[in-house]
Symmetry: C2
Subunit: 385 residues, 2 copies
């Protein structure tokens, strides 16, 4: 039951931070370490000020356990989920749970330096405003609406973020914030967030983010699958349709050109229905505007068609549909229907298809979890003194 991520003293901290363990005994069970070793390490973590002991937990039939929790001073992460015109900011605890949230309007097109500097300042201010000024910041996480090279932490070329291509986002954030930084695609963060938050038992997960664009994050064997940095792209699959639409990628009839929030907005605009944000499409559907419902159904069919192939191939435990458009019920229903109808019984027998449980903070949660996964360094340092 012991995996590499849970080895070392940092593993115990992870178990407590994520709420999986509350006592030394639980730590021993989950970590696979001997009870005596756990006690020694917990002692160190208490000495280092990362753990706090607080009262007693519920008895399981014998002596009540001494409850362990993260110390306030254990630290926080600063996290921002950037969209094209909007950023969602959060100060989160070491498990990714938001302690403070706020929204920031910003234009990603002004370029990385300005945007990131503004975001980091706003994050610092947010922490101070919530009385967290004295808690050490252990890391910073940035979610971006485009492909990110995991090795370098740079935005990779064909992104729709003018001025960001090949900009060393991770290095810049590390320098500006003065702490280790994590940069990741937003759909990937969402996938991690959903996995850890609502489906820790599902080792294989696909998370589709339906907003202005179409993103997808994949969890394989409990870990985020990045491939060479582009994994999870489903938006540029060619689909068959009557009308031909050219996609920004240069090929005709990509899924994104027909079924993304932006494509739906354009289709509705052609019918004299003005839409600014994908969320407004959801409202139109909820209000029973037939053109909107019909457009959303068509999109669902196209998305579902693409997903059948991927579900057969990847055979996940669950398929999660998130993003603002996931609140349009006919869209989700259509996708679900297409998949259940056309996939192999073997692939759908145990497949769950659901909308996001973590909602719009899934990415923020995910960033927290990934930052915690990358925290061995500072944890070891904190223990050494």
């Amino acid at each position: 039951m012991r995996n590499s991520r849970d080895d070392g003293p940092a593993g115990l901290l992870r178990l407590v931070a994520t709420g999986q363990a509350e006592s030394r005994a639980e730590l021993a069970r989950l970590s696979g370490l001997a009870a005596s070793s756990v006690s020694l390490r917990v002692e160190q973590l208490l000495d280092a000020g990362l753990f706090a002991e607080e009262g007693a937990g519920a008895s399981r039939g014998g002596r009540r356990p001494r409850r362990l929790r993260l110390a306030r001073q254990a630290g926080v992460f600063l996290v921002a989920d950037l969209g094209a015109h909007h950023a969602r900011l959060a100060v989160v605890d070491l498990a990714g749970a938001p302690l403070a949230l706020s929204d920031l309007t910003c234009d990603i097109a002004v370029g990385p330096e300005k945007t990131l500097t503004g975001v980091i300042d706003a994050l610092r201010a947010l922490a101070r405003a919530h009385g967290l000024g004295d808690v050490p910041v252990r890391g910073a996480g940035i979610g971006l609406p485009g492909p990110v090279d995991p090795a370098t932490g740079q935005v990779v070329s064909p992104s729709r973020m003018p001025g960001w291509n090949d900009f060393p986002v991770r290095d810049f954030v590390t320098a500006q914030a003065g702490v280790p930084a994590l940069v990741e695609n937003d759909a990937n963060l969402m996938a991690v967030g959903e996995h850890r938050h609502s489906r820790p038992a599902c080792d294989n997960l696909m998370v589709i983010k339906l907003g202005s664009g179409i993103g997808c994050g994949v969890i394989v064997d409990g870990r985020l699958h990045r491939g060479r940095g582009a994994a999870g792209d489903i938006s540029h699959v060619r689909i068959l349709s009557e009308a031909t639409v050219d996609c920004s990628c240069g090929h005709p009839d990509c899924l994104e050109a027909h079924a993304s929030g932006a494509a739906l907005a354009a289709a509705l605009a052609a019918q004299d229905i003005a839409v600014e944000h994908p969320g407004e499409i959801v409202d139109l559907v909820a209000d029973g505007v037939p053109q909107a419902t019909s457009a959303v159904r068509t999109a669902g069919r196209l998305i579902g068609d693409v997903l059948t192939a991927l579900v057969n191939f990847f055979n996940p435990d669950a398929l999660i549909i998130g993003g603002s458009l996931s609140n349009a019920e006919p869209l989700v229903a259509t996708i679900r229907g297409v998949i259940y109808e056309r996939c192999l019984p073997l692939a759908t027998r145990n497949l769950e298809i659901d909308t996001s449980a973590a909602g719009r903070d899934a990415s923020i949660l995910g960033a927290g979890h990934l930052l915690l996964d990358a925290s061995d360094d500072w944890i070891d340092r904190a223990l050494d003194r």
Copy 2:
């Protein structure tokens, strides 16, 4: 550098068996263990008769290492790769390398008991015939042309193996052969074989097996991805075509119904060209029979179309094309062309598309590797006395 598979004393044996390490020093480097610990464990492995010391290796600028290799008495695995009318049998060493090979004609439709009993007897005879009668058999591996549930080792329902559905293949083989048995889909075994044999550095790999059917095995992060048992299916993706062909799965126009070896044979038969095995199609193509070449090109386009979506999504390091049809050059060229043309540059920039390097024994190699991966039990037992 140390992963869970390489922990414990079994890890050292694996490193030597696979040829990655030949000396104590190399073992220390690759395993991450201290040199002193390696020496102790090697001592145990020598005492247990699993290792043998043999002369000296090449110097790297200092003292020459004492070369380690597997002892002859370390053991062998018995492996069979079953097809519909044919089985390839092998006695392999602990790394999966064939020590003895043979072919057996058999009809899988006579049911599992008869088939498996015959195969196991033939394997035992093969070992004796090659003077391996006194070497302990450590495990048995069976590759099957259909979906296998990894948890139970049973063939799963919609297979094209009459009489095998829900038959407990693994338990039966374990009982018959008296050793731990491994049962796995043939394309999955091929994927493992290709990965370990020719591309150990590629952590993400897709292997397509083009024979009478279309199979696919996936390596993610260096490990075989099984999903819930059906992962890797690409044959029942719906494709668009002029003529409608109903597939055995009940849906129209599956990839397999149009582009598999069986489908090609049927198409050629309709043009009065009789074909029995997929290999004969390769011959026809090599002989320049235009109908065959044209059919194969069409199939390549269809297969390539399906793969573009999967390559974008999975973003592998390499795509390997194997199976008997992979020797038809126009087929491979067409697939390659479609993928390079239509996938995202990000996905194809570092993508290698090649035909199988391990050839038709890839599955056998893969079975050996998986058996070795599952060998901790008997290795520990051998060390304890």
